[in-house]
């Protein structure tokens, strides 16, 4: 019997000691991941140039995300390029590359550009992604963005956001006589174009979910009114005929409705318009308070907006029909411009005496009057934030202090990761404000 116990004990004891041999790893690094973007092989030597352009765009996208650090190609040891071989992983580990991107560019018989790529994990020595894109040659930048998107989403778990566009208000001219035009560009600043000629003051452009239309505010008829611009035809028209000012427009997630504020008889309330039959319904009712800056939840069932109904401007959430209004911001100062992301975060601008202008992020669900806001960016006049479609990156306006009466460098648009890391300026030809980020382009 004793022996039996001893035997059992001897069997179990090593198990305990195994449990003892556990090391807790509780810290990591947030350094960007080193990635080697190898030269893409041009199947026809004539394609080498475009292959280089493609990898330059990929590299710029990945670097701009703050998640990756492209390794200089001068360090590469393996000279084989293309997608038909298994890389010599030791050579890539040698230069400390965690990831390796190989690719190949061909022109198909129909004259289209075909780019095939493989993303390798140089450490685990396995293939992570292998894909091929085919688009007309003119759209080569888009192909590059798509590849960068694939890499980004494979590594971060978030959808890529490189194949997107940003619409914003371009500003030029002297401080007191600014000319404001709507402008459209790729998320990296390329393919820049103006949408309006600057004869009227324009503000707050907002993309439709399909990226084909833009709602914006124009002073065309001397009073601010919401207009809708069709990107394909380039035509714009007034949206509805309201007696007073209409402003702060935004599309619903399905693109069927537009929501906006209309000021009437000293009160400002939120209205929703069915874009098909132009029927308008009032959502908020409030004596003399100002309810504005509405933004839909990703499922379209709720709306977040700012209101001064309790004194200072705070954020509230309500049902789509205006029911069940709940306050969600509780800090001091005033809150404005809420914007609900696809990942169920709400970005906002907060102005307080202690920290000035800040951009913050909060969850719409709160516990017992405790909001969970986190301020991620601050600066002189930071405002007007808009989410990238993946709900991870924000674009916003940041002003600089008025340098005399200078006409340039007053404000620019920046992107930032919602963790508060990696603030970057987006290059624009002149001053910029009020950006809005499109959904991913197909």
């Amino acid at each position: 019997m004793k022996r039996l116990f001893l035997a059992i004990f001897l069997c179990i004891f090593p198990l305990f000691s195994l449990a003892d041999n556990t090391i807790n790893v509780t810290r990591g690094t947030v350094d960007p991941i080193p990635i080697a973007i190898n030269n893409f092989r041009g199947v026809d030597p004539a394609d080498t140039k475009i292959a280089q352009d493609v990898i330059a765009v990929i590299s710029n996208d990945l670097k701009g995300s703050g998640i990756f650090r492209p390794i200089s190609s001068a360090a590469f040891i393996e000279s084989k390029i293309g997608t038909s071989h298994t890389p010599l992983f030791a050579a890539w580990q040698q230069i400390n590359a965690n990831l390796l991107l190989n690719g190949e560019v061909t022109k198909t018989a129909s004259g289209k550009l075909q780019v095939k790529f493989i993303l390798w994990d140089a450490i685990l020595e396995k293939q992570l992604v292998s894909e091929s894109f085919e688009l007309s040659e003119k759209l080569w930048r888009r192909v590059a963005h798509k590849i960068a998107d694939s890499v980004y989403s494979k590594i971060t778990g978030y959808d890529g956001y490189f194949n997107t566009r940003i619409v914003y208000v371009s500003e030029s001219g002297p401080y007191l006589k600014r000319v404001k035009r709507l402008a459209l560009m790729d998320q990296d600043g390329a393919n820049h174009q103006y949408l309006t000629n600057g004869s009227d003051l324009v503000l707050t452009p907002r993309f439709s979910p399909d990226g084909k239309k833009i709602l914006y505010l124009s002073y065309k008829n001397r009073i601010p009114q919401v207009h809708i611009l069709d990107l394909r035809s380039g035509k714009s028209q007034l949206l509805g005929h309201f007696p007073g000012m209409s402003f702060a427009p935004r599309f619903s997630p399905d693109g069927e409705y537009a929501i906006m504020s209309i000021a009437k008889n000293g009160a400002t309330n939120i209205y929703e318009m069915n874009l098909r039959n132009k029927k308008v319904s009032q959502i908020t009712e409030g004596g003399a308070s100002i309810n504005t800056s509405p933004s839909y939840s990703p499922d379209g069932k709720n709306i977040v907006f700012q209101s001064d109904r309790h004194g200072a401007r705070q954020l509230f959430v309500m049902g789509r029909n205006g029911s069940n209004i709940q306050k969600i911001s509780f800090g001091g100062g005033s809150y404005a411009e809420p914007n609900w992301s696809s990942r169920n975060f709400i970005a906002f601008t907060k102005v307080s005496r202690s920290s000035g202008f800040t951009i913050g992020v909060m969850k719409p669900d709160f516990v017992d009057g405790q909001s969970n806001e986190r301020l991620i960016a601050s600066g002189f006049l930071v405002e007007a934030s808009s989410w990238a479609p993946n709900g991870r990156v924000l674009v916003f306006t940041k002003g600089s202090r008025n340098k005399g009466k200078s006409s340039n460098g007053l404000n620019r648009i920046y992107t930032i990761d919602f963790t508060g890391y990696n603030e970057r300026i987006i290059p624009t030809p002149s001053d910029a404000s009020d950006p809005d980020w499109s959904h991913v382009i197909d």
Binding site: P14, I23, V25, T26, V30, I33, Y158
Partner: protein
């Protein structure tokens, strides 16, 4: 009349002042210790060694060898053994006995003086103690130990020595090593030094030492890039099992457990991948003592990304 009284009063004050001064003088001269820092704190150090070496499980081999030589000692110690123990995990009984023995020898004198706070200080000072211990222990021990066990003395003396100038000392004489020493020593030296006294039966089950744990930990953490910003990341835990070769090369990594909050499969997958990648990248783990290969040839790693709380 009044003047006289004043004079008397003055004299009385002067006398009083002088007497007070004398009294103060006596106080200063007679109780110099009141104003000095008490040397007692050094005693604290003797305790500090214990938990470290206990956890580190480095010295155990010697005890095995010595056990035979000093049977009476262990007996005596057993009685008081449990009293002061700080670490509840029984690394292995024999070793503790030995340590208690050391403690025992130094304790009687200081026992009353040692205040309760000592355990608290333990963490703060890890390195200093070893140095300080030396001067203190030697004078105390020599007179004391002569009578009960002459054998014990030579055994303890080398320990004190090597904790200070570990590298210079002749390695063969060393019977007891401390953590810091092992850190400093190269693997080869280590092997040479402990080979002779090593008791085979203990290493099998003994846990990793603190030193080894932190070595592995730091080398892996340097390479770990958790998927920042992913949903519920802070609640994910990934447990890996790894097997090492003698040179520290990681020969095998397997994910043995993932604790995954609901609706975060993608996050969990990415976290697990990042963990495996970190381990692969950290290979080979450097500076692990070769002679303790049995201990660190396989162990588990628990990855906890909650520091990334977003």
């Amino acid at each position: 009349m009044k003047e006289q009284e004043d004079k008397k009063f003055q004299r009385a004050i002067i006398v009083s002042a002088i007497l007070h001064l004398v009294l103060l003088g006596v106080f200063f001269l007679g109780f110099p210790s009141v104003f000095e820092k008490l040397p007692e704190e050094q005693d604290v150090m003797t305790f500090e060694i214990l938990p470290i070496s206990e956890l580190s499980n480095v010295k155990n081999e010697n005890i095995v060898a010595k056990k035979a030589i000093e049977p009476e000692k262990s007996k005596e110690v057993k009685k008081s053994a449990t009293a002061k123990k700080q670490d509840p995990t029984p690394v292995e009984p024999k070793r503790e006995e030995k340590k208690e023995a050391v403690k025992e020898e130094e304790k009687p004198k200081d026992a009353e003086k040692i205040p309760e706070k000592e355990p608290l200080k333990k963490e703060e000072k890890k390195k200093e103690p070893e140095k300080k211990v030396e001067p203190k222990i030697e004078p105390k021990k020599e007179p004391k130990k002569e009578i009960p066990k002459p054998k014990a003395k030579p055994k303890i003396a080398p320990k004190e020595d090597d904790s200070i100038d570990s590298i210079l000392k002749n390695l063969e004489e060393e019977s007891v090593g401390t953590d810091s020493k092992i850190l400093k020593k190269s693997n080869a030296e280590q092997l040479e030094g402990t080979k002779k006294t090593r008791g085979m039966e203990y290493n099998e089950d003994s846990p990793l030492s603190i030193t080894e744990k932190s070595l592995v930990k730091s080398q892996i953490e340097k390479n770990w890039r958790p998927p920042v910003g992913n949903q519920n990341l802070k609640d994910v835990r990934v447990m890996l099992h790894m097997t090492l070769e003698t040179d520290g090369t990681i020969s095998n990594v397997t994910v043995i457990k993932i604790i995954c909050p609901p609706n975060s499969d993608a996050t969990c997958k990415l976290t697990a991948e990042s963990a495996v990648r970190a381990v692969r990248q950290a290979s080979p783990i450097e500076n692990l003592p070769v002679d303790r290969y049995d201990v660190w040839k396989e162990f588990n790693l628990l990855f906890d990304p909650s520091f990334m709380d977003q």
